[in-house]
Assembly symmetry: C2
Homo-oligomer: 317 residues x 2
């Protein structure tokens, strides 16, 4: 059986997998490994190289090696800039890792890899028009349109997080204001919660967080919402409205058959699905004249990026 | 020579052309005709049918017939809903016009047709990733990605005008607030001008418009800007910022090699290009780490939609 190796370079850890060619189920992962992500470029290449060696010792020879990394990754596999790995700029991962390994390496954006995996193996299977949106610390994305992965002219398509949804909104580390990920990400949820807490509307959530408003995180809102706390549910609803607003914008642009929502927020999916769908219908243009895209949550969990990286070398753009 | 017929159904007029197969220049239009657009569905089909007959009498037999129409057009050629032709809903143009003509008819969105034409024959020629944005009364759009026309799962891709860029912005006829076309269209420019005029900052423009602030239109701002009027140039700059904001959002989503700006606003292109490019660089994420898409103005003028409609039947999605 032909096997393919993929590594997902995350903000904190690198996760590598070996999958069978023609992988159809997450269970087809035949080997996996993880390592902390070093921020130094040379150390990062060392770690990736070691992971490839370790995984091929464990799983046997592999046909291809793919890497998914956060940020702007060119079609040639150069990481131009990444908010999550700030010291790594203009790093030619494909060439330099390829030299260390003595074999070709294909490199793509991590969320694009996750989209590829969810489309081929996960929640988007069977659809030709799939938008993957990863709601984590920030927001990433990947696009499948007309049965093909869309990467854009430089490889930078799908950077949904920096879509401006309010030019007077809070400043974003990217230098602009009111980017979608300031509202609809994990940190956006935390910020909505802190604003509500300062207004005195979140007593239970603040309690769950240990009494300190500045320490409020998305998990605390989720935990209180699970208990049915009204203040927490109101914050979830506000958050869902921001998520839906962005999904509507993306629907106007891409007209997908299905959204696959991934990232850390997918954990509490049962809390979000109903309010996101409700707001989506509220905000969509001409909702009565069109089918609505399906809203689903990712099924490959933390493995999506690595599985997609493994599939990338044989994917036609 | 094989010939193809296309008709663009506009908000006020229908424009039909016959082009040679393999059309490469706007000059390859071998016949054209125009008629006012009736708002009654049956009369519209009558007009389209008459135009096809008239054009084939003039130009000889044609191999295919295509129609571009505004609004949500399904892949089967049904007009679901159109803001510009409000009385026409759920009209199966492809089937009903096909029956009248006794031949197959392919129907698509008008801005998608314009994108196809500008990509194959006009300003986007030679690029594989082209975004067409039509800045008219509203904003339409069309997408070419990876060398293929992107239409989405229902045919509704490219509806850029209703991308929300400010959820607290002015109400839009679509039912939401702060849609991009409230700012970056012809009516958006007029609204920005009226706001500035009420603030007393546009004396020359109001003079050009005949002294009545409520009658201010985009053309008046353009005319005063041509004279170098500072107030008018400031409104153009504000307008350019809104245009750029949306183009940046679309760059994050699609990563195009080139934008082709069309619609009525393309007329004053020399006024807009520099400020739009300046704001684009200001607003883009990581501008120093990436090539910027080219900004260009459409070259096919009012014929883009009809030429694209003619090319549609032989285009693979």
């Amino acid at each position: 059986m032909t096997r393919r190796l993929g590594i997902d370079v995350g903000g904190t850890k690198c996760l590598g997998v070996v999958v069978d060619d023609g992988v159809e189920e997450p269970d087809d992962i035949v080997a996996q490994a993880r390592q902390p992500t070093p921020y130094d470029p040379d150390e990062l290449l060392d770690v990736l190289s070691e992971m490839v060696h370790g995984l091929t010792i464990e799983a046997g020879a592999v046909e291809t090696v793919g890497v998914g990394a956060p940020g702007l990754i060119t079609l040639e596999g150069v990481l131009r800039s990444s908010p999550n790995v700030p010291d790594v700029v203009d790093l030619d991962i494909a060439t330099r890792l390829g030299e260390r390994l003595g074999r070709p390496v294909t490199v793509g954006n991590d969320a694009t890899c996750a989209a590829l995996a969810e489309w081929r193996v996960g929640a988007g299977r069977g659809h030709d028009d799939v938008l993957m949106v990863t709601l984590g610390t920030g927001i990433g994305g990947g696009v499948v349109s007309g049965g093909r992965l869309v990467v854009g002219s430089n490889g930078f398509a799908g950077e949904f997080g920096h879509m401006v949804v309010d030019p007077n909104g809070p400043p974003c580390p990217c230098g602009r204001r009111g980017c979608w990920e300031r509202y609809a990400s994990g940190s956006g949820l935390a910020q909505l919660a802190r604003t509500a807490a300062v207004g005195g509307r979140l007593r239970r959530v603040v309690q769950v967080a240990g009494g300190d408003v500045t320490l409020l995180r998305g998990e605390h809102v989720q935990a209180a919402a699970e208990e049915g706390d009204e203040g927490a549910l109101a914050v979830i609803d506000e958050f869902a409205r921001w998520v839906a607003l962005g999904l509507v914008n993306l629907t106007n642009a891409f007209d997908p058959a299905i959204f696959v929502l991934g990232g850390g927020l997918a954990e509490g999916s049962h809390l979000y699905l109903e309010p996101i769908e409700r707001w989506f219908s509220e905000l969509l243009y001409a909702p009565e004249h069109r089918p609505h895209p399906a809203l689903s949550f990712a099924t490959l969990g933390e493995h999506a990026g690595a599985i997609g990286a493994a599939l990338l070398p044989t994917t036609r753009f």
